[in-house]
Symmetry: C2
Subunit: 458 residues, 2 copies
């Protein structure tokens, strides 16, 4: 039995949390491969180390003094290190690495930012290995360069290259714990690049696949994954078990407990994922498994919503008669390096839904102007506050009449639906609304499925 265990930022925020994590590792010898995040918030209002590192990077870019911010970052590590009595040499090394960052040359500020941010995880892994040693647990820090984690050349949104898995097969180790920093890797040219934010989950998943783990335990600060966002729905039902693809669809639309992209290596390696709570490790957590042999308990497993979208609506007669209409539009998007999310169409209209993350007001204006000039639409409208709601459940494949129960509460509450899209996977229904309507929609859909199922038990 081999396990990869990943700890989130709040699980490694201070010495107190380090101790909890060490106890978790001690309690199960199969927890050999450990992935660390950067120290997170210790209390509400605290600043995450990653955010401190961004401040540091910006100071360097704008030639501002850096002494204070370096001190502030170092203190986060030294406070933990001192509590564990780690060797002075370790803390000195951490200080040196922090200082060295500002003297390093980077190809451009994107790579600079990537390297600065990555040090949150990197230094934390180094410190954590030292703490384990102090607690008489054999452990060593493994840098992604040693492990051979090779990524695409996208400084802040890299994806893993297949070669990584061959490299991981060759990794040499004995019975000691291996502590990997999450979130980053290197390009084939040796440049440090990071995954998108929350990328430590991805590192854990890659290691689980590459090291052929039996289980990937993902420790965070919630007992379970809930069927809806607890900030939107009052005391939502816990999810004991769900499938990879259910998780993936839910992550896409705002379930941030587990990173969207992190599911893929686990699927490829057929490794179950257990989301657990560092502060409550005896709780079973939520298990994410393959759909093979999975029997859904409910019609709907979860309801997610995300307000991160914008949409472009185009209308032109005989739109879908013209070969190359959409091609022209996609070429414009490609020119500006913009990907789209979905493109539902009617007879004479087309809506293109974007992740707003990639957009600025200026870029939006340029794209709209270029599209107007290229395809001469009869109408063009930019919708800046677009939300996507995903209603997800393996149970939807076999049970009939699910969609009525999704649409009915929205209709009753006069929530305008801009798009309904049932994909080929048939385990989800995607609904587009105005951002302002999204929470209300989730609550009403949730109540219709979960409250009525609760009633039927009585």
């Amino acid at each position: 039995m081999k396990k990869v265990v990943k700890f989130g930022g709040s699980s490694l925020a201070d010495a107190q949390q380090f101790k909890k994590v060490i106890n978790i590792i001690k309690s199960d010898p199969s927890r050999q491969f450990i992935v660390t995040s950067a120290p997170g918030k210790r209390y509400p209002g605290d600043i995450k180390v990653t955010d401190l590192l961004i401040t540091y990077a910006n100071a360097v870019i704008t030639h501002k003094p850096t002494e204070n911010i370096i001190d502030q970052i170092f203190k986060r590590y030294s406070q933990i290190g001192n509590e564990f009595n780690v060797d002075e040499a370790i803390l000195l090394d951490i200080k040196q690495k922090l200082l060295k960052l500002q003297e390093t040359n980077f190809p451009d500020n994107k790579y600079l930012m990537a390297a600065f941010k990555a040090h949150g995880e990197r230094l934390n892994a180094e410190l954590f290995a030292a703490c384990l040693n102090k607690m008489k647990i054999a452990a060593r820090f493994v840098d992604p360069s040693e492990a051979g984690i090779l990524l695409t050349d996208d400084p802040d949104s890299a994806t893993v290259l297949e070669k990584t898995y061959e490299n991981l097969k060759k990794l040499q180790f004995g019975n000691e714990k291996l502590v990997f920093p999450g979130f980053f890797g290197f390009t084939e040219e040796g440049l440090l690049v990071t995954f998108s934010r929350g990328g430590s989950d991805i590192t854990g998943s890659i290691l689980a696949r590459g090291l052929k783990a039996d289980l990937y335990e993902n420790f965070t600060d919630v007992d379970v994954i809930y069927a809806a966002n607890p900030q939107v729905v009052d005391r939502p039902a816990p999810i004991e078990k769900l499938t990879y693809r259910e998780m993936r669809e839910l992550s896409y639309a705002g379930f941030t407990v587990f990173n969207d992209e992190a599911i893929i290596p686990a699927i490829q390696g057929k490794i179950p994922i257990n989301v657990k709570n560092t502060n409550h490790p005896e709780a079973k957590g939520t298990l994410i498994v393959s759909e093979k042999g999975f029997t859904p308990k409910h019609k709907v497993t979860g309801i997610a919503s995300s307000k991160r979208f914008a949409a472009l609506y185009l209308h032109r007669y005989l739109l879908n008669k013209e070969v190359g209409f959409t091609l022209k539009i996609l070429q414009i998007l490609y020119k500006y390096g913009i990907s789209y999310e979905h493109m539902p169409s009617g007879i004479d209209d087309l809506t293109i839904i974007f992740d707003k993350k990639q957009l600025t007001d200026e870029l939006t204006k340029k794209v709209c102007a270029d599209i107007k000039a290229a395809v001469h639409p009869d109408a063009l409208e930019w919708i800046d506050d677009y939300a996507i709601i995903m209603v997800v459940g393996e149970g939807m494949r076999t049970k009939v009449g699910v969609i009525e129960n999704i649409i009915e509460p929205l209709a009753k509450n006069k929530i305008a639906i801009h798009m309904i899209n049932q994909g080929a996977s048939r385990i989800s229904i995607m609904i587009g609304t105005r951002a302002a309507d999204a929470d209300n929609a989730v609550v009403n859909i949730y109540n219709n499925f979960f409250k009525s199922e609760a009633h039927s038990k009585i």
Copy 2:
């Protein structure tokens, strides 16, 4: 008051029908602009003149004897002409034009085919004008070249150029009836090209806009447009009035009574369309109007379905993260001159729906192979029997809970839904099913809306 009146093929199939049409024209002096189709079927099993002309064209292309087929075509016209005692010179001219076709040089066989087919309408318009004159009604034949009907250079699927409308403004005429052949026009280089099949409706609509008619009467062989295909649903409800865009969405998915593209010039010119029956001209028919001031009587106006589609299903992880994924696919389609109809997507999957008309088995194989090579999907599936069902109604915009009534009967009858798409227009819901399920789906949706509304009247 000015009217454009168009007569379909069955309305002009023989002398008997010619007489009915002449009575219709006589009964209302505002019916000044007449558009003719080619003579259609006189009885079940008869061959339409257009199909005879295709046989003639193919004989010429393959260097087969043409004498018999020319005789057969000519007979259709001469039988009518003789019944009206038209001058021998007219019939001789028709014969000469038929004979001349095989001696004309065309840029390629597509233009040849267009010119041959167009003669069905052209000769019928000439003959009809002569018959009107024989009945002491002043009339003259107007060729599209005289009217200035300019089309794009697509031999069998041309669309109208805006210049046409300027040309029509300049057309000289007095009080005589003008008889225009439907279905074709000329490119700016003077080549004869046709609309897609059923294109006489388009000619009528273009003339109605260009000549600023008050009404466009479209005479065919049904009393009204029904809320569903009478071959699928038993005695469907008649539609008294519907909007342009309702008609357009219904035409798209198989309501062939009125041509899909023909609605657009009427919309642009704000000209109401009245679909009427040549064999029953006193019936009010169906009126197609602007949505301004239109009050829908029912939630749903009509339910159409078309089995003319095929679909390509693609699955790949992180599909929508990649800038340019769909672009690569559309470039391949563009290379082969293929347009797509709809492209619904999930998180990691994409379905591309095609009109099968443009596809051959060979082309499909090439497209699939090219897409596989270009984007390396995890899964690729070709679905050759795809149907689209359109449930259309202006009433859906304001009334809630419509979609439940669409989905519920499908769920009850265990009809698998491959796609649900509510477009931005919000007057229609598009549903994708296997072709084999389409009729059953239409019947069930129809019954749910129309039978329950009938009940509620009691």
